[in-house]
Amino acid sequence: MSSSRKEMPPPPQEGDGNDFHELYNEAKLSQPIKKIEEKWKLVPAFLRLRGLVKQHIDSFNHFLNVDIKQVIKANELITSEADPKFYMKFTYISIEKPKIEEDCESHQLYPNECRIRDLTYAATITVDLEYTKGDRIYIKKGVSIGRMPMMLGASNCWLNNMSNDMLARNKECPYDPRGYFIIKGVEKVLLIQEQMSKNRIIIEQDPKKNFCAQVTSSTYTTKSRTTIVHKNEKFYLKHNTLAEDIPIVVAFKAMGMQCDQEVAQIIGTEPMYLEGLALSLQECSQLNILTQSQALEYMGSKVKTVKAFGPSKSKTPSDEARDILRNVVLAHIPLSKHHMPYFQKCRYMGLMIRRVIEAVNDPTKLDDKDYYGNKRLELAGQLISLLFEDLFKRFQFDLQKQIDSALSRTGARRDNFDAITCIRQDTITSGLEMAIASGNWVLKRFKMERIGVTQPLSRLSYIAAIGMMTRINSQFEKTRKISGPRALQPSHWGILCPADTPEGESCGLVKNLALTTHVTTDCPEAPLHRICIDLGMEDAALLGGDELYSKEHVLIFLNGQPIGVHKQPQKFVRNFRFLRKRGRIQEFVSIYLNDQQNCIYIASDGGRLVRPLLVVEKGKLKLQQRDIEDLSLGLKDFNDFLKEGLIEYLDVNEENNALIALNEELLSREHTTHMEIDPFTILGCVAGLIPYPHHNQSPRNTYQCAMGKQAIGTCGYNQLNRVDTLLYLMVYPQKPLVKTRTIEINNFEKLPAGQNASVAIMSYSGYDIEDAVILNRSSLDRGFARALYVRRYQADIKRYSNGSADVIMPATLPKEKHRQGMFKKFHALDQSGVARVGEALNSGDIFINKYAPVQLADAANQTLSKPNHQPSDNFEYKPRPEAYKGANPAYVDRVIMTSTQEDPFLIKVITRQTRVPEIGDKFSSRHGQKGVVGLIVPQEDMPFSERNGWCPDLVMNPHGFPSRMTVGKMIELISGKAGVLTGACKYGTAFSGDPVEEMGKLLVKNGYSYDGKDVLMSGISGEILPCFVFSGPIYYQRLKHMVQDKMHSRARGPKSTLTRQPTEGRSRDGGLRLGEMERDCLIGYGAANLLLERLMISSDQFVVWVCGKCGFIGYEGMCSYCKSGEQVCSVKMPYACKLLLQELQSMNIRTQIKLADV
């Protein structure tokens, strides 16, 4: 490092005498700009600061430390209707660190204990209270009101800032992404939710192709959507609470505007706007509405009557209309205290109309709903905040009700009443727990009902877990066949991964964050407003419509609200950004100038997506090589660069004001404002695993993103201590020979999922058709792709209300001892009745020998008469053992006996299997090239290299390439081979990996052909193969789909009780269905007897006695309807048919069977 530093030219000295000549040296100016080496190092530096899942943790921290206090402040007071003197005030709220109290002892609760014991990782929420008792005011501190599930890694989590050593002691993996919750032992992730921006005007066309402006207002108390529609050349106000659309001028009048001129002025007096408004003004006068009260009355008559309110405090229609205008319509716009309270709302509406008129005249001014600048992401913090506020309100409501009832009593009980005793903790505790556990976010207040907000964290592999933490769920319906929201947008560049999305119904709706995306949290508006004024903004409150929309200056918006105008937009924006670079404004606040709308938009709201970019000034990067060196030496970090203004965060909207160069060659002196840190950051952390993805056909990268999550590997350093229901682990995982920067950054090397297989791409036997691969048996013998299959079983020992309890016992009950043949299944049990660790379990073996009590009829009386009697004598016990099921034996890995908060005794048995690959197991390379094992071949039959006896682990058929076009895989092979020969890992980073030409040269240097093709000898005939074979190492993943879990056959087996037909599905040992299409084939072929055999004889044949006279079903030789057995015959029919006949009969439908001789 030091030597390279010396070679660097000395940094240009400012203020030097040569400065002038330097600047005007033509030759120097035309020189190509020197590339900054190892620029990518900024990415890990960024991630150290803002991590892959940091957005979850940041958001939750914001909730814990800021938001929750605001929630409390907004709902601080409880009063009582029974006693006007009473009040209770919540003055402070704080959340502790997770602890648990058991047996009157409190101890620190760590995540691993929660996972093992099925507990919730939660911390107590405490409040400070001020309330009255009698005539006095009491102040109580630290009152618990419930428990808040704690996000791992959040500020109040024990793991926050914990050293690796301590993490290891607490059985945590240092590379675990965190950012999830543990609810009842299950890890749950709150998926990022994508939504349209709140409080912004969106101009669009409704289904009837009418132009409309839509605003979704959202405040702490209300959420509502206000629409202004342009219908028949007229404008209408549309709102949920209004049964009919209100002519806009009526709405204006209802809000206190007196004359048409005022209305016209607030929208704009240019001819275009006046013309657009003319018919609306006319409509109003036709309705003969001239005053505010007339308008309110008119509106009142159109208000939707809400039934649910019961006996409402009979408001007059105009009062109701006023209420709606005041509180619901455009709820986010505050009312002013001046003579015209609605002025701001009017102005906002005027703006909406203006925008619609513009859009009508020029449809290109319609907003794009799918444009990502119009989207906001809702994270764990916001979601939990909503839920918490709802629950807190419910908690207060319950509390108030109890206080009311207590205070309405009389006497000493009332005087001594202490309101604190009424605090119930489980409203909030169970409310939060339930919502996170089930994923159902139901908030009646906001009419919000979302399902699937949380998902259990997939621990199949490390990548699956990280992939889940960066996933974005959108609210669109999956069933609708719309392409707009699913399509990849230009505005996704750099913030969403273009490859990582599922296939099928949710394609394009579920997205993933790119590597360097950060999601903002809310930032206070007031200081920004202040700064704007300091920068020379004229306050909007002082301006009328004409002045607001004058071409002379631009309108400035702060989070969607017009706050003022400025005459020099460029200067304003420049100064604002300067202040931001200086750290006077939070780095995530965005400002951008919209030339088309003649507006400046400032945004500081949460949920925006920002990404860091290098700042370019005068066509030169501000970042210098020495900065990168300082970074790698640890002298500086990302924040320093931010402070020095070398790096800037831009959100999607501000990117429109920037010209971002991809690399140094594309820097232009005049216009470039920014440069990408490194182009590979446009991919997410899952797509980043693919080497040379830019050489692949794009869907292949998408397939790999889905498959990388199914690869068996390592899921964390604590994997052997984990107690998941199902875990797939690789015995000898390897880090890939061809890696990418992303792989290094997201620690895939530390927790890999796959092995570098020696691959020969050639045709071998016929067992490799349709993407099948051939494996080398000796490789398997030596441990290739060996996997552990770890499974958890559990049983709880219940106590029943009648005093009895389940028991576990060794071997068998004394009574059953004579049944010697049954003993074998008990072989694994120890003295306590649970299997010994290390014991092999075969199918049918019992590993928890549990017995459940069955109460005897007379035993109940006995317990009554002799209450002190030993309860066990009174119960008969029935065996309820947990037995192992599975064709292959498993070993008992661990036995955990513990207690949960509900169950006093819980047993978890973890079994383990080692699985060697077999025919039918699934493998995949990192390029969406999956295949099953078609044949396992002994090593001596494998082809071998004439060079050194090299012999493939895996043979892949070359037909997999032409249609898939995964050139990246071929380059991976060549780079991997070069890497092996030179003893170094090679890089296949997107857009910048080691070039294949270089790799070819390395191959030649080592005596191999430049194209990766070798001369092989046939292992079977011993002759030299007449073709060269493309061979070398490729990183292969073993996928979780294994034949052992899928293979199924049945000759005879169980039948379902109702229809007596064979059961369905492998888990029930079901039959294989001869379905409709198969039936069609047999009919078409004319194989009537085969059909009869398949559908009846081998299924549910049943002999029915049918009476030839009445056609009813009788019984053997007798018809109970005719009371005779004369014409009763036996008929064979499917049992299902007989069932149908009888069911129909029971519904009073007469079904007759007519018999005839054949």
Partner: protein, 372 residues
């Protein structure tokens, strides 16, 4: 006539590497393959074969033997290679009684790892262990009790990791100082201790002759204080056919000996370029009377990287041939046998198999004759 003979000779003996693949790679075994050209079937006699076939040893050390098998055809060479890989018996750990394993490696993986450890013992001194019959398996007979000194080697592995300083704190995250802080932080193959069965003590009286792991530094497992591995290991005689752990060779392969010629002389700058092209230095330059001429230096160095025929101007001039009846064998032993012994063993095995099939054929023809 002469050109015809040369043509046949070339077809039979020489494969040619071209840019697109290898021409004339196939073997012509049938005596009538060239009857149309030569007008008569080839002579095939055992005597000719015996005269022509030969082994020339090129190099020999403790690990590897390199020799040329001359005058043979691929089936013979391949049979030898296949036998070396899969059919020469060695001793390897096959059964394990695991008494204690508190290490982080699961039992079956530990057993698998230990099975792959090569054991130093002469397999020729042992018999094959007879497998349990189905009835015995059902009865639950413990196979390890049936081992005798003639068919088994028994080892014990008992390693326990402790802290060197009992008062030291339990250090978790250390990977650097393990040897200094703990006793037995690593389980190596050298921890295997041999336990004589039957008369084995007298068979292997000295420490040198004692059976042990071939390489003492094979890492079997890692331990941390409090962890312990105790197991009994039973070696059986087996072949690579059953499991790769019994394979006595690291690798056994052959290649066709290269024969590089020039179709016309390459002189001057071209000669220099050709020399420079070859990464392994097959070509030399001879200066004859001031004319620099390319010559083939050591053809055996050639790795068939085809760099020399990549430029179009050389593609037709350099003739990269390979002798189809000259196999350069490389046999690298794992260590159970000496490499030269391995080849002899393989030939013995081949002979044994041939004799067996000869008997079968003779019996068949005898019985066939009887029927007639």
């Amino acid at each position: 006539m002469e050109s015809k003979a040369k043509f046949v000779e070339d077809r039979k003996k020489r494969a040619v590497v071209k840019t697109h693949g290898i021409d004339n790679a196939a073997t012509f075994e049938h005596p009538a393959s060239f009857q149309a050209t030569t007008g008569r079937p080839d002579k095939t006699s055992l005597k000719d074969f015996i005269d022509e076939c030969d082994i020339e040893i090129l190099s020999l050390n403790d690990e590897e033997i390199v020799f040329d098998l001359v005058g043979a055809e691929p089936p013979l060479a391949n049979a030898l290679r296949r036998i070396l890989i899969a059919e020469i018996p060695t001793m390897a750990i096959e059964k394990v009684n695991m008494w204690q394993n508190t290490s982080i490696i699961p039992d079956e993986n530990l057993a698998h790892r230990i099975g792959l450890v090569p054991i130093k013992a002469d397999p020729r001194e042992f018999e094959e262990h007879t497998a349990l019959t189905q009835a015995e398996v059902e009865e639950g007979v413990d196979d390890t009790t049936r081992y005798t000194g003639d068919d088994c080697l028994k080892f014990k592995l008992h390693v326990r990791c402790t802290k060197k300083d009992p008062n030291a704190p339990m250090v978790i995250n250390n990977t650097f100082d393990e040897e200094r802080l703990y006793n037995n932080p690593n389980v190596y193959a050298s921890h295997l201790t041999w336990e004589p069965l039957g008369n084995q003590r007298t068979k292997y009286p000295t420490p040198e002759s004692e059976p042990k792991a071939l390489y003492p530094d094979i890492l079997i497992a890692k331990l941390r204080p409090g962890q312990e591995i105790e197991m009994e290991l039973f070696c059986e005689k087996g072949t690579g056919k059953t499991h790769a752990k019994w394979s006595p060779v690291s690798t056994a392969y052959y290649r066709l000996v290269p024969d590089i010629r020039f179709k016309r002389e390459i002189v001057g700058e071209d000669a220099k370029e050709l020399k420079r092209l070859c990464p392994v230095g097959v070509f030399d330059i001879e200066d004859i009377g001031g004319i620099k001429k390319a010559v083939v230096g050591d053809a055996r160095k050639c790795t068939t990287c085809r760099e020399c025929i990549r430029p179009a101007k050389f593609a037709d001039v350099v003739d990269l041939g390979k002798w189809k009846d000259r196999f350069e064998f490389h046999v690298e032993t794992v260590g159970h046998y000496r490499p030269e012994e391995l080849v002899v063993e393989a030939l013995k095995k081949l002979k044994e198999k041939t004799v067996h099939w000869l008997e079968v054929i003779q019996q068949e023809s005898a019985s066939g004759a009887e029927e007639k």
